[in-house]
Symmetry: C2
Subunit: 381 residues, 2 copies
């Protein structure tokens, strides 16, 4: 056998080794926030498959997936945009596109990846294939709450000027719609799973501001005037993540700001329908995919605890302490399991959502966000 053929054989072994598990529907990535690494995990086997290194500062990182569930686009705090190939388990490409970034999104057709930047403020849009920049949209403001919307659109909001912009990328050039008067210092936003309603949280005042993206001329709609730190000015250990809003059929559940409670909100009218007292200041309130349960984690120093709320009775039906610093939760797409990042235990812990039994754990170094590939098929995640 000639050396060339031997080399070919070796490379076939390598590609075959990596090819084996590449049906990618049940995989996921876990951010290791301290080390600039991600761990590739397999839901079905409840196992870690590989660690991928060299992603820069992941202290406040998130990611989105390509439609084929092969590539993850990881948005680092340092402005790094890293394209990870979970089939070959390597970094396919990486650019440092700004000095300080906060989150990103992928267009509904999977062709464009957008990143929201603090330094310089604005949004930059990249070809998902090559990571070449295709649009630079400066905003003269820190830019937050970047989401994708149907019709190859991105929506994002300005901390400094209180404007929301809609960038329609369906044509040759970006077409920008600017909506003013969204409120004082918007700090985060979400889009509902159907891509219709965009809602910003405000740091500078109580209440939230919604936009109906199905309207030809969306106007700011003030909702939930009591939502926020309120009169008592409780110390806020951590502003809750708005992406943590949970839709449970006809109601949203959202973490209160500062207070030890979650709020129930009518999804159609965006008016408050009730409150449930909780163990601490909620950070994420996440609905199991069927909407029957909401799982809540809490801000420091009560972040060792999880509470589970039944959405019919609105009562807490289960409480337990997975360990120190539960930072994130991710449900399997059909909701039979939930995976928790327990940062200071260095573990991902896995639970049955019907019995609450612990099913397994996976070692990880300071794990934070858990992202299953099923997100590829959803809007606004």
């Amino acid at each position: 056998m000639k050396p060339l053929a031997l080399g070919l054989l070796a490379s076939l072994f390598i590609s075959a080794a990596h090819a084996e598990p590449t049906a990618t529907g049940d995989l996921g990535l876990v951010i290791e926030r301290a080390t600039g690494t991600v761990v590739l995990v397999d839901q079905s086997d409840r196992a870690a498959l590989a660690r991928i290194e060299g992603l820069g500062d992941l202290s406040h990182a998130s990611l989105v997936y390509s439609p084929d569930e092969r590539f993850a686009y990881v948005f680092g705090r340092d402005g790094g945009l890293t394209k990870v190939d979970i089939v070959t388990r390597t970094i396919a490409n990486r650019v440092v596109q700004a000095g300080n970034a906060i989150g990103g999104a992928i267009s509904d057709d999977g062709k464009l990846v957008a990143v929201s930047n603090y330094e310089p403020g604005g949004v930059r849009i990249f070809d998902a294939d090559t990571l070449e920049m295709v649009a630079d949209i400066p905003t003269d403001s820190k830019t937050i709450g970047l989401v994708d919307a149907p019709g190859r659109r991105f929506v994002f909001t300005m901390w400094d000027t209180g404007e929301t912009w809609i960038a329609d990328m369906s044509g040759a050039e970006p077409r920008i719609t600017r909506i003013e008067n969204m409120g004082d210092r918007p700090y985060d936003a979400l889009i509902t799973a159907n891509g219709r309603t965009y809602i910003t949280g405000l740091f500078g005042e109580d209440g939230l501001t919604a936009l109906d993206l199905w309207s030809d001329t969306p106007e700011p709609i003030r909702v939930l005037p009591g939502y926020g730190r309120g009169q008592e000015e409780m110390p806020v250990y951590k502003m809750p993540h708005l992406e943590g809003w949970a839709l449970t059929g006809s109601e949203f559940v959202l973490p209160a700001v500062g207070h030890h409670e979650v709020l129930w909100v009518d999804a159609a009218t965006l008016t408050e329908t009730g409150r449930t007292q909780t163990h601490g200041q909620p950070v994420f309130a996440m609905a199991r995919p069927d909407g029957r349960q909401v799982w809540v984690n809490f801000a420091h120093p009560l972040n060792d605890t999880i509470q589970v709320i039944d959405t019919v009775t609105k009562e807490i039906i289960h409480e337990f302490k997975p360990g120190p610093a539960v930072l994130h939760m991710e449900f399997t797409p059909r909701g039979h399991e939930v995976w928790l990042s327990v940062r200071d235990a260095g573990k991902i812990m896995i639970y049955d959502t019907q019995t609450f039994e612990k099913l397994g754990e996976i070692d990880a170094d300071s794990p934070s966000g858990i992202f299953f590939t099923a997100r590829a098929h959803r809007t606004g995640l």
Copy 2:
């Protein structure tokens, strides 16, 4: 080099050749009803990748996917249950499990595949890995409307006796709950996307019967008493598919029986809220994933036409004729495209859902159902 090693090399070539496109998130299978074959398609490339043969009688076939989006379980009319590996593009396993079957489902954990049978009547449940039978549930009736529900449950209904059974497979043995008096000759059923509400259509009387699966003791709830063939006894060319019910935020849209219209139904109360006149007797009324549009196809002889309804105005905003015998529609998971089976043109046709522009077509032999792998992550499909 020894023969064994040569054989290994050959098999590595084969597996490496098939390994390339195995990020499976954007793949799908199209049923070729006349030839017992399926075509593997790639959404991103709008292309056919392979044809897989030998699946038996697919004249009324459907399929479900494993959680990793690697295996499809194809339910044939002849009782065949075929496990297709879309990574290697081969049949991984096949059993003929009954004489005459009608649909199947996969448990939320992906471990169990259930098949609904006419001959002999009942449901049989198989290990998803090996296709060995793990439970045989005879029902003394043709069995229809089989769906999966959260908590490793299957729900199905008896044509002859009008009972619905819930099989809870979370323990060592199936635990069966029987609900009587669902109505006269249930012919099909659906479960809502959140897995809460199960609704049967009735051949023998007007109206529908719903069950609240979140109740500890579900009771039949009669809804929409005017739904059905009604007083006029219109000729019904094809009973509409209940799986075609579309949820558009707070309303369902469903095809009328016999009449040229779709009905709008409040999702919370299951009462009628309106009707939209259509081109013919609707077969499927399917919501784009964001719920902004509903696409409708029609029964013979008007089955060359598609109408698109705006869900805000409830008016028809677009109508076109893709070709003879449009049998099925499947949206990309985030809704930017729709794929149509045009049986008598021998084509899958692909359209942009924003511009209605035709984007491409793929040859297929008498195509019927189109199933994208994203279904793996949803309940009740």
